[in-house]
Amino acid sequence: MSTRTAKANFDTTESELIQRVCQGDKEAFYRLVQPCERGVFAAAMSILNNPADAEEVAQEAVLKAFSALPRFRGEAKFSTWLIQITINEARLKLRKDRKYLYQSVDEQQTDEQGDYFPKDYADWREIPSETLHRKELREALKRALNSLPTKYREVLILRDVQHLSIQETAQVLGITEGSVKTRLLRARLQMRDALAPGIDGSWSSGKQEYEKVRPW
């Protein structure tokens, strides 16, 4: 089956399911949501960074999407639309919840001007697949993700975890495609800075020492 035909079939199924939901079939809605569950949770996590809150927001977003489905016009894919609702719900929670008082929502609107300079040139070659799951690597990754400003983390998650296109990412976040690219660059370079030197350099290329040369 060609990709085009497969896509056409998928679209038919999606629109058929939507039609069934609008006729009152709740099970059909669950079938629509099920393939998007992981994406919905990750989108909420990218903003809230707290699994319990992200789950609550994911549930609210899905219930909201259920009520709003008759107004869904199919201009975007259902999954993109659902993620957009999730992002909005997560941002709403940020504003309402005192816990997130110091996390400014305004930061979403502006991009830093100027260039980002890598902190060092640590030589981080290809990660051998057997080290991918090493506990200290995963923990370092988690810390690095947590230290990213929300506006960078959300773009990184949407692009590199959920593989949304640049255009879809811009759409769900309500920013320009240029901003998506700028934020993604910053996010990836900051993550590299946080991770490249490793804990002791040993997860990179087996070398016990890593090269650290500052350009200035």
């Binding site: 669950y30 996590m45 899905v62 259920f66 260039d115 990660i127 991918l132 990754l141 590299r192």
Partner: protein, 78 residues
Amino acid sequence: MKVIEISCLEVWREISNFLDGEADPEMRARMEAHFKVCAHCTAILDGTKNVVKLVGDGVEYQMPEGFSKRLYDKLKAK
């Protein structure tokens, strides 16, 4: 055709687009030529690739156990 040299700074600005295949062909050729002679930028390219690979498996964003069931129950109760 001679490829025009570019600076490390220009490479860093475009490195993410380069990985996503978003850099235009001319920029791409200039960057590829730069990587051949610049070990530092190559290290940054490799590191950035690793970030994309590591983050990409999504392990850090896996749903908590029972997530689907609780979501389904919420929907059913509505």
